[in-house]
């Protein structure tokens, strides 16, 4: 009975409180349109935990990591001012920056870093998979990470958002995150999940201090409403614009549009064990049938974003500079399929041994481009006699379909810069048994050997050579079929100065932004 009363009381107070929050926030003293930069993006946040929504908090510059990544993908110092790898490559020592304070006023020292990393290691993320033996504080300024075997990726992994460093007081007993007390140039002011976040300037920041007093982040679920927010000037920076809106927004004098290539590729994951697709010629035919130029120009509205290979030109180790284009793609595709014994039946659908060439393509709606590209692919494959059913579901259907083997073809946007070194993603995608977001039922011994040696190659030249070989293999074997490179479209209102884009999507660089004086 007591719990009933508590329930009722809680509900009652809750209503009151939420009304007060809403009304209270209406008469907000400190933050106003004039002193607040407003950002709109598609991603909502539900948890303070950096392992879950850390990408929002690092982008909003609340949290920082030990190491940072520059626009070329190289590791640079951040909270660690320098680091050193031991001779046997099994021990990394990080020297922490001096006099850095968390937002709650406590000092960032080795113990704090060890606590954050130890907790991050228990949660879902790249650190969990790393061969770590121990993380310990050597002195108040030095942290040592010992590995069970050499692991080159550790630096890149520590730069990942899930390994951001929080003040020890932010954690609860079980490692749950109760507050966001980081070290960034901004600190939390209002937290209203899943839609709204306001941060305010941290005037005690160790690095370049911010100029704009407040920044708000608003989740705009519908691509259309984000476009309208950009148009009407209600949001200063809008990320993730739908391609369809670009021509319209380009005409507006109040906005500047930024199109930035990011190491993300729209690609097809193919089940290479599927009876129709286990021959490489079938996968090549499907690839040839894709009108990449048309998709780039008419659907994505970004000419020249078509992708013949998986990794973008910015990743020079992995990009093959010379790839010849097939002159007559459709004819070649048809010839390849014919050589596999497929013949068109009366309905114009390919048929072999009484079975028609039917495929189910799954994709997800989180990224607006994917469904439209899927629709285009469907029509283009239909033209060579491959009947495709498009199923728009949740992104989780892809790893799930991989695990239970039910997946046939999936269209996705894969972020190869998720960990600053693409090797991390390549390893998990093209390793021995493929990966949830990579190859499926594709077993290639050469690839395994190549990846094995890449893991401990330190010599840049050799590394480049091996990476090129691996890229060539992926290109020829087509366990994944690239469609287009992802270009992040951003609209920035002209009252904002100093915008630049992070291709690794780690930060919005808020502390570089200023309002133009009117």
């Amino acid at each position: 009975m007591r719990s009933l009363f508590r329930f009722i009381r809680q509900m009652g107070f809750g209503f009151l409180a939420s009304f007060l929050v809403v009304y209270g926030s209406m008469s907000w003293a400190a933050s106003s349109k004039e002193n607040t930069l407003s950002i709109s993006s598609a991603f909502e946040f539900t948890s303070l935990d950096p392992s879950k929504n850390g990408y929002i908090y690092t982008r909003m510059q609340l949290l920082e990591t030990l190491l940072d990544v520059n626009s070329k993908g190289q590791l640079v110092p951040a909270l660690a001012s320098k680091w050193k790898v031991s001779e046997d490559a099994k021990s990394w020592r990080f020297t922490l920056r001096d006099k850095v304070h968390f937002h709650d006023g406590s000092l960032m020292d080795a113990n704090a870093v060890v606590k954050s990393l130890t907790i991050a290691k228990q949660k879902h993320g790249a650190l969990r998979k790393a061969p770590i033996e121990s993380i310990q504080a050597i002195d108040s300024k030095t942290v040592e990470v010992r590995l069970t075997k050499p692991y080159l990726l550790l630096g890149a992994i520590l730069a990942h958002y899930s390994n951001a460093i929080l003040a020890p007081a932010s954690y609860g007993k079980k490692g749950d995150v109760l507050a966001l007390s980081g070290t960034g140039p901004y600190q939390l002011s209002l937290y209203a999940p899943p839609h709204k976040l306001v941060v305010e300037k941290n005037s005690a920041y160790w690095g370049k201090k911010a100029s704009i007093p407040y920044v708000s982040y608003l989740t705009g679920h519908r691509a259309e409403s984000r476009v309208m927010q950009a148009r009407s000037g209600q949001a200063d920076i809008v990320f993730g614009l739908a391609p369809a809106a670009l021509p319209l927004l380009k005409k507006l004098p109040s906005l500047t549009l930024y199109s930035n290539s990011i190491p993300r590729t729209i690609a097809l994951k193919v089940n290479s064990g599927h009876p129709f697709l286990n021959d490489v010629r079938a996968r090549q035919a499907l690839s040839l049938a894709i009108n990449r130029t048309g998709i780039a120009k008419s659907i994505l509205r970004i000419p020249d974003s078509e992708a013949e290979q998986l990794l973008p030109p910015s990743m020079t180790d992995w990009y093959l500079p010379t790839i010849s284009k097939e002159p007559m793609p459709l004819e070649s595709a048809q010839a390849l399929l014919a050589s596999l014994g497929w013949k068109k039946n009366a309905d114009g659908v390919l048929e072999r041994d009484g079975k028609t060439f039917d495929l189910t393509l799954i994709t997800y709606a989180d990224r607006p481009e994917l469904t439209t590209v899927a629709t285009a692919l469907q029509a283009q494959w239909n033209a060579i006699g491959v009947r495709t059913k498009v199923n728009v579901t949740n992104s989780s259907a892809i790893p799930m379909g991989h695990q239970d083997g039910s997946l046939e073809v999936a269209l996705m946007a894969r972020n190869y810069g998720f960990i600053a070194n693409p090797l991390g993603v390549i390893l998990s995608d093209f390793g021995a048994n493929g990966g949830d977001w990579g190859a499926m039922n594709w077993h290639n011994k050469t690839m395994s050997t190549l990846l094995g040696s890449l893991e401990h190659t330190t010599d840049p030249k050799k590394y480049h050579q091996l990476a090129q070989q691996a890229a060539q293999l992926i290109y020829q074997q087509r366990p994944m079929i690239p469609v287009s490179y992802y270009v992040q479209q951003t609209a920035v209102n002209n009252r904002v100065k100093g915008f630049h884009f992070d291709p690794f999507e780690r930060s919005f660089f808020l502390n570089d932004l200023e309002f133009k004086s009117p």
């Binding site: 691509a223 476009v227 369809a244 809106a245 998709i295 659907i299 469904t371 439209t372 285009a376 469907q378």
Partner: protein, 262 residues
């Protein structure tokens, strides 16, 4: 049973028949299919080749609109038939078969009523995204309650009425009593509800399409077309207008046909 129609009802019927004719003739006459793309001819205004223009994939809008209208009508029709039959049957049963049946059905109906219909449909539609069958089942499940409530109330009055009582005393059976007494009393309400129900079914499907849970691409569905074409509202406003106008026309037609107001 004959209905004498008011002129506004006739007007509604004409609108609906017109749209139906458009759907049937459109799908029959058009040389294109709904998913046939031409990426070289996107967002075209109406012209001799494509009477209603082309969408962002260069697909013929005429064909797609005809298909979408047909789909909407098909859904509206099956939903109305199912929910009307079920609701009427259960409503008569509840009112006529004593307290126990009435009580059990009442509890069930109360639970259904306590959730907004769209939420139930959303839950069911999420089980099988894009399935027409699931949409149909979900919408029918939500809609029969309305018939049930009205039919039950009217039937209760008729069951108590001297007219039915006297027929029963004269030895007439249940079917006769239903045919002569209950059905004539509930028919006008059922008809009105059916007209509104048709409109609501179509609206629900469009609403689900609008939040991406309904019919899935590349099929043409009015709500889905609205979201698909919305980004092009300033570039190609004539495209966005088409599904919007047609949804409004269908609903308006059904409301006119209903005659009575609810």
């Amino acid at each position: 049973m004959t209905f004498s129609m008011k002129s506004s009802q006739k007007c509604g019927l004409i609108i609906l028949l017109g749209l139906l004719a458009f759907a049937v003739l459109g799908s029959w006459l058009s040389p294109y299919t709904i998913s046939q793309q031409d990426l070289n001819a996107i967002l075209e205004p109406p012209n001799a080749q494509h009477w209603l223009g082309t969408d962002h994939f260069g697909r013929s809008m005429f064909t797609r609109m005809a298909y979408a209208v047909g789909l909407s009508f098909a859904l509206g029709l099956v939903c109305v038939m199912t929910s009307a039959l079920l609701g009427t049957f259960l409503g008569v049963w509840a009112a006529w078969s004593g307290k126990q049946v009435d009580g059990v059905l009442g509890v069930f109906v109360n639970i259904l009523l306590a959730l907004p219909g769209l939420v139930i449909v959303l839950l069911l539609a999420a089980i099988a995204p894009g399935s027409f069958l699931m949409l149909y089942l979900a919408i029918s499940l939500v809609q029969w309650v309305e018939y049930f409530r009205v039919v039950r109330a009217v039937t209760q009055a008729v069951v108590q009425s001297p007219a039915r009582q006297s027929s029963q005393m004269m030895g007439f059976g249940r079917w006769y009593q239903f045919k002569r007494h209950i059905w004539p009393a509930i028919a006008p309400s059922v008809f009105t509800l059916a007209a509104f129900g048709g409109a609501n079914a179509i609206l629900t499907m469009a609403s689900l399409g609008f939040i991406y849970v309904g019919i899935q691409p590349p099929l043409a569905e009015l709500g889905l077309m609205t979201v698909e074409l919305f980004p092009y509202y300033s570039e190609a406003p004539w495209l966005l207008v088409q599904p919007l106008v047609v949804i409004a026309l269908i609903v308006f037609g059904f409301h006119l046909l209903a005659g009575k107001r609810i």
